[in-house]
Subunit: 246 residues, 2 copies
């Protein structure tokens, strides 16, 4: 008997951010797998499911365990916060699948932290944008730096994931210093912490102010393009509809 | 009495792609506003709501009508396909809000077409990526071209919106010709048409093949980075977990 493996995005916040497809997908499985913190959010919603949890940083083990259970005939929902296709587990599942007997794999998307955080701040991602992770655990810092420069030079809005951690408290500052070589210090920026969760907090500020702001790993950072403005406390990038009307 | 205006993302496909928050938000309103095609999808789901529709290209009128109704005391759900913060109506609502008496505005995010299309193709957006619209209705083509070059040179994965229309049948070809100056012809690419809807269709191909593929305005296009591979028919960009293990 062939099992199935759904890689399910929970969205950025609580259970109400999940799509109907995500909920039905988890319902259809007998086993939930995931990083401890996210799975804990689901215990109340799906009390009858068996659960496999693995701690942070054990991504490869987590995916192998899910594939192994599915290959043994289980139906497994591997859950990820936000969207599983954005710095989540979807890619790794496909990369590891060939180690196991064939399994039906399906990715059910979720609202990404970028899109969820943008909604809290206003509408910063209304024009062409880049998503960049500042974590250099898996990516050389030189590559990250090259992408920051390219994004600034081509005037993309930028959404930063993993802007800081205990081991890299100054990475956002380093990123801002690079951006400040190509963008004005008054560029409108924003931060959102704990998107859609208890203690959600959002701030709009300038790039110069962002440089001197300490954020943590639960924060998503947004850097405007040259057109981004602050409107009544919201961060808004015009698409150009009104400018066309003129 | 102050009205409220929710700008609600429906996700890329049918009603099951909507989040619980989006559904509850629409339920809480007495009026639904939006582009005819998306609103039609909702008539069955919310049969008791009053509906204001406006045709395509009338974005400014659509947003003004929604703000006017909210300012008159209605609770209005302005619905958008995908995420309202990505080439949707969220920004314009904030830009126009000052023309009307104060209204409570909230954006409820949805799964974007990028994230939804990526899930169908596999996991192309697992590493840093750019979202670029090829429509030059509101953006000069020179700006679009500069962003394509920057994205290619910095080895971002690229997600293209509005890759083609009746008036611009050759824009994807033009974009591919620019990308081919900076990326190999064997770069793994993908297209998804009618994401999450009837007639959904996905194809994985090379950049050279994409250049000679005719797509329409209902298609989202993905261009891999230098690490993107095809695995059993899926488009997958490794994040680097397995490469780190080596």
């Amino acid at each position: 008997m062939t099992g199935k493996l759904l890689v399910v995005g929970l969205g950025p916040g609580g259970a109400e951010d999940m799509s109907g497809r995500a909920r039905a997908g988890i319902e259809s499985c007998d086993l939930i797998a995931g990083y401890t913190v996210y799975v804990d959010l689901l215990r109340d919603e799906f009390p009858d499911k068996e659960i496999i949890t693995t701690p942070m940083r054990k991504e490869v083990e987590r995916c192998r365990a899910a594939l192994e259970a599915a290959a043994a005939g289980h139906s497994v929902a591997m859950v990820c916060s936000g969207d599983p296709g954005v710095y989540g587990m979807a890619g790794l599942i496909y990369e590891l699948a060939d180690e196991f007997p064939p399994v039906d794999i399906e990715v059910i998307p979720g609202v990404s932290a970028s899109n969820g955080g943008a909604a809290v701040l206003g509408a910063p991602l209304m024009h062409d944008y880049c998503v960049i992770s500042l974590s250099d655990l898996l990516t050389p810092w030189e590559t990250i730096e090259r992408r920051l420069v390219a994004a600034a030079q081509a005037d993309f809005v930028i959404s930063l994931y993993n802007p800081s951690s205990h081991k890299r408290p100054d990475y956002l500052q380093r990123a801002c210093d690079i951006l400040l070589q190509h963008k004005g210090p008054d560029t409108v920026c924003g931060t959102v912490r704990n998107i859609g969760r208890e203690g959600q907090e959002a701030h709009v500020m300038t790039l110069a102010e962002l440089r001197d702001t300490q954020v943590d790993m639960f924060t998503c950072v947004f850097i405007g393009n040259s057109q981004t403005v602050e409107l009544n406390g919201k961060m808004v990038t015009p698409r150009g509809y009104l400018q066309r009307e003129d």
